[in-house]
Every structure is written in structure tokens, then in C-alpha cells.
């Protein structure tokens, strides 16, 4: 099997062109799926027996939590690829993931608080999932903070890649330690609903929404990575040509 296709992605002009073609597809399909699954989740799904309409925030909350972890994984894997094979585009992708990760973790935490208030009776509980999500947010902020503190882009790339890889080792340990800590400390103060498996009318909008979030992530990641690639090579020959081509294509 030839790896030529992979190496082509390492070339900024090629990445810029292909990502520019792909991004709108991801963006528009994400928008359509969000609308369909919102309709499914807010209108079609039946009212929950225990939580009445409050459960509907699940369609925003759960996909955001899933995507936060996926974003971190994507960031760390592309940072590692960039570090090992010295591919600048991979670093640009890792940079593009970080703000998306912050927004996913913040959305997950905030909607979790809003959901917790009516169902658990509290805005905040030291629940393992909440704490893990909070530490994921700290990791993203540390990554962004480290990058912004280093002026030289090449050094920033590699230092932040080391941090992302160290974080990958740490994320499961954090998860485990929080589970362990929680099983010792927390008396069952929080009512946990013991509900039957989710009926299909409730489930399909959730799965569809997760797909929509994933597509949205790819869209925003590609848009940001394109901007990052341009910013790094600003003043370069191919950037001028690509921008001229974009301008011509935009007016046509």
C-alpha cells in the first residue's frame, strides 16, 4: 500500500485546497442534521416519565461530553504525528482542535449544571464525570496557555505536542482516581434515576445529534486549520496564489 496520499496531506497547499473543498460539506450536513435531530428531540420524542421535559437537554449535553473527549484524542494524535514526522499541517490541526475542545467541555459543564438543578436538586456535585470533564477543560486551557506563551511557532508546536501526549497518559489516570476517590467519599446524596433503557424515539435524535456534533467538529476544525496554515505561511508564494484563486472563484 502506498502512503503517497498521506504525505500529500503534509503539503500545506494541498491540505488548504482539499480542506476548503471538504469543509462546506461538513458544515451544511451538520446544520441539516442538527435541525432534524432538534425536531426529533424537542418535538417528536415522548415526555420522560421521571423528568418530564427536563430530560430534553440530553440532546445538547451528552454529545458535547462525547465530543470533548474525541476532540482531545484528535488533538493529541495529530500533535504526536506532527512531533514524530515533523508535519506542520498536523500541528495546525492540533492547534485547531483546542478551542473546539474548550467550547465542548464548557457546553457540557454548563448544560450539565442546568440539567442538574431540576433533576438532582443541585447545580454542582462532585460526580466523577463532572470532575473528569473539568480536568479536561484544564488540560485544554493549559495547552492553549503554553502555546500562547511561546513566541517561536516551531517551538510552540513541539512543546505543546509533548504536553498533549503527557495529557493522554494522564487522562485515564485522572478518570480512575476520580472514580476511586468518589466511591470512598460521596454518600449517595444525589438521586440517580434508575430508568429503563431509552426508547427508540428518544434514542435516534441523540445518536443523530452526536453525528451532527462530529460533523460540526470536522467543519470548525478544517476551517481553523486552513486559517492556521495560511497564517504560518503568510507571505509565501503559494498563499498568494491560493488567495488569488479564492478571490477569483468567489466572484465567479
Amino acid at each position: 500500500m502506498s502512503w503517497a496520499w498521506f504525505h500529500r496531506f503534509g503539503s500545506p497547499p494541498y491540505f488548504y485546497r482539499v480542506a476548503g473543498k471538504l469543509a462546506p460539506w461538513f458544515g451544511w450536513s451538520a446544520l441539516v442534521l442538527v435541525l432534524v435531530s432538534l425536531y426529533g428531540g424537542l418535538v417528536r420524542a415522548p415526555v420522560d416519565y421521571y423528568q418530564s421535559d427536563a430530560f430534553r437537554i440530553i440532546y445538547v449535553h451528552v454529545p458535547a461530553s462525547w465530543l470533548a473527549l474525541m476532540t482531545y484524542t484528535t488533538m493529541a494524535v495529530s500533535a504526536a504525528i506532527g512531533l514524530v514526522w515533523r508535519i506542520k499541517v498536523a500541528h495546525a490541526v492540533a492547534v485547531a482542535c483546542a478551542p473546539a475542545g474548550v467550547s465542548f467541555t464548557v457546553v457540557s459543564l454548563v448544560t450539565g449544571m442546568i440539567w442538574g438543578q431540576p433533576t438532582w436538586g443541585t447545580w454542582w456535585a462532585w460526580d466523577p464525570r463532572i470532575v473528569s470533564q473539568l480536568f479536561l477543560l484544564f488540560f485544554f486551557l493549559g495547552y492553549i496557555g503554553l502555546r500562547s506563551a511561546i513566541d517561536d511557532p516551531d517551538r510552540a508546536d513541539r512543546a505543546s505536542a509533548v504536553l498533549a501526549i503527557v495529557g493522554v497518559v494522564n487522562v485515564p489516570i485522572v478518570r480512575f482516581s476520580v472514580d476511586w476517590w468518589n466511591s470512598l467519599h460521596q454518600a449517595p446524596t444525589v438521586m440517580r434515576m434508575d430508568k429503563p433503557a431509552m426508547p427508540w424515539e428518544m434514542l435516534w435524535p441523540l445518536l443523530l445529534m452526536a453525528l451532527a456534533y462530529t460533523l460540526y467538529f470536522f467543519w470548525i476544525m478544517l476551517v481553523r486549520a486552513r486559517a492556521e496554515v495560511l497564517r504560518r505561511d503568510r507571505g509565501g508564494q503559494w498563499v498568494r496564489e491560493a488567495l488569488a484563486r479564492d478571490a477569483a472563484g468567489g466572484s465567479a
Binding site: F138, G142, R155, R158, V162, V169, N170, S177, W181
Partner: protein, 229 residues
Amino acid sequence: MSAPLVPAAAAFASALRRDLLQAARRPGEWLQPLAFFVIVTVLFPLSLDPELARLRHLAPAALWVALLLATLLALDFLYREDARDGTLEQFALSGQPFAVMIFAKTATHWLLTGLPLALVGPLAAISLGAPPQNALAVLWPLLLGSVSMSLIGSICAGLTLGTRRGGALLSLLVLPLAMPALVFGARATQLAIAGESAAGALYLLGAITVLALTLAPLAAAAAVRISLE
């Protein structure tokens, strides 16, 4: 470049000796974190409630927060001086494994901050209301925990080496990484003060420390190397 004449172990020992000698000539630098640790543990009773029975509940939190902050304070000058006068570059050029040389620096850091803090720990625990017959058991979690924090810190200090505003960023990087050690360490301390067996938490803390001993020197060496370029 000529082949290395001195094996890595000798290089490690000479780097360690050099750092300890330097520290002996500048005692202010490594006494600072120790004083800081004592002050933080003293501030807890002053800002809370001087009743010993109630303080005892908070003692593990006070000890571990103070340990973490004092380690952070000392991390700031782990590499800075050696980066400025070119010692780190000489380490990199010496032909010895860079991770070994960086590990020597981390070992010094632990000997000068982690070890004294852990040794003062039982005394601080007594002042926070721990029964004296249980206080000595506090030593083990503090010893293990300070090792893993020095190692985690050596990675993060390497990453922030070339940055302008190191301090605040350093704590943002270290605290999430040090969280598991804090959880197990504080629990082991709590059990030790209560006079119960802390073995379970200690084993997990030991596992984290061994993992950090295995991986952190490599990551720290990579981080410092990047910052040197």
C-alpha cells in the same frame, strides 16, 4: 565528537554532586520552599478554627495543598539558572543520555525540596491535631507524593522554560497532572492520621510514582531539548 569516556552513571553522579554543592552555597534558595510549607500549614489553623479535633479533619488537605504549592514554588528555579549560563546545552552536547542528566536535576530538586518537606510533614501533622503516635505514618505518603510531584513538575518546568511569564502557566500545567497523586496521597494521609491502614491508597500512590519515574525523565528531557533550541 569523541566517544563518551564516562558512563552515564558517573555523569549522573557528577551532575548531582555539582547541583548539591551549588545548593549548599546558596541555602536561601532551597530553604524558601520549606519556610513556605511551614507558613501555609500554620495559616490553615489561623484562618479556620483552632480546635484540634476539627483541625484533624482538614490536616490532610492542608498538608497536601502546602506540599503542592511549595513544590511549585521551587520548580521555578529548577532549570532557569542552568539554561541561562549554558549548562543545559553542555549537558545536551556531553554525549551522555540527556534524560539521565535531566533526571539528575530532578533528583536534586526532590532532595532539596521534596525530602525536607516530607520530613517536616509529621511535625506539621502534629501541629494540625494528628495524634503523635500516628504522625510518623504521614511520612510515607508525603515521601512518595513529593517524588511524583517533582517528576511531573520537571516536565512542566521544561515546557515553560523558554516562556516569559512562567509562574502562572506552570501551575496551570502542573495542577491537573498532579491531581491523581493528590487524591491518593491525601487519602493515605487521612487514613494514617486516623490510625488506620493506609496500604490501599499507598500502593496506588506508589504505582503512580513508579509510572512517573519511568516516563517523566524522558518527557522532561524532550521538553527541555525543545526549549533549548
